[in-house]
């Protein structure tokens, strides 16, 4: 058991080194000319008020530009709730029978 824990920590540290090497190659944090800030976010920032009438851009994206995404997100939540109810209900029925 002790050897297993040691092995896990060694593997985790190796994985951490791999991820850190990748992270070091990312563009510097917090700069305005990073490739993340491309024409898509520019469009959201400049036209959100004209196209949706919402001052909060995150709300404009979630509820207007990507409304279908939000709709299916609620379906994900609904399915999870349904699965929880079914999982807990079956056990009750078995205990009775």
């Amino acid at each position: 058991m002790r050897i297993r824990k040691l092995l896990i920590i060694i593997v985790a540290l190796l994985a951490a080194y791999g991820i850190l090497v990748a992270v070091a190659e990312l563009p510097p944090y917090g700069m305005a000319d990073n490739p993340v800030h491309n024409h898509v976010s520019e469009r959201y920032i400049n036209k959100a008020l004209d196209e949706t009438g919402v001052t909060n851009m995150v709300t404009a994206i979630v509820l207007d530009y990507r409304a279908y995404d939000t709709m299916f997100e609620t379906i994900v939540l609904f399915t999870a709730a349904l699965a929880v109810v079914i999982t807990l209900k079956v056990s009750k029925r078995k205990e009775k029978g």
């Binding site: 190659e25 944090y29 995150v58 807990l88």
Partner: protein
């Protein structure tokens, strides 16, 4: 010349996210209690959220809410924040379903220890195979 460490100091939010992710991985792999494994999964999810939110940030940028102020305001990228809202919903769904499954396992086996559940299952399987032969 910038060393690996110098680059990591510049990208310090990603560094914190990597540390969180590794902590979560170690918890998932070493802890025996299923609830603690689930907490480890949640810590890993938080690390992913931090990576995305940090990628959308700009130093000195304003929050992406228009207030009719100056026209030269630099707003941070609102897209990663909006995407992470979806991610949080998925995370909550996974956590809820996993908790329901753990409760179900506890009712069947009387324990939340992954090792003891595996032992019990092995015993049952051995028992069945010896009956058949």
């Amino acid at each position: 010349m910038k060393t690996l460490l110098g680059k990591l100091v510049i990208n310090y939010p990603y560094l914190f996210a990597v540390v969180l992710f590794i902590i979560g991985t170690i918890i998932v792999l070493t802890r025996d209690n299923l609830f603690k494994k689930l907490i480890g999964i949640n810590i890993m999810e938080s690390a992913i959220f931090i990576v995305f939110i940090a990628a959308g940030n700009i130093r000195g940028g304003a929050v992406p809410i228009l207030d009719g102020g100056r026209a030269d305001t630099v707003y941070i990228n609102p897209l990663p924040s909006a995407l992470m809202l979806t991610g949080i919903v998925v995370s909550v769904s996974v956590t809820a379903f996993a908790l329901a499954l753990i409760i179900r396992l506890y009712k069947s086996y009387g324990t939340t220890s992954a090792r003891r559940i595996a032992e019990m299952r092995n015993e049952v399987l051995k028992h069945d195979s010896s009956h058949q032969s």
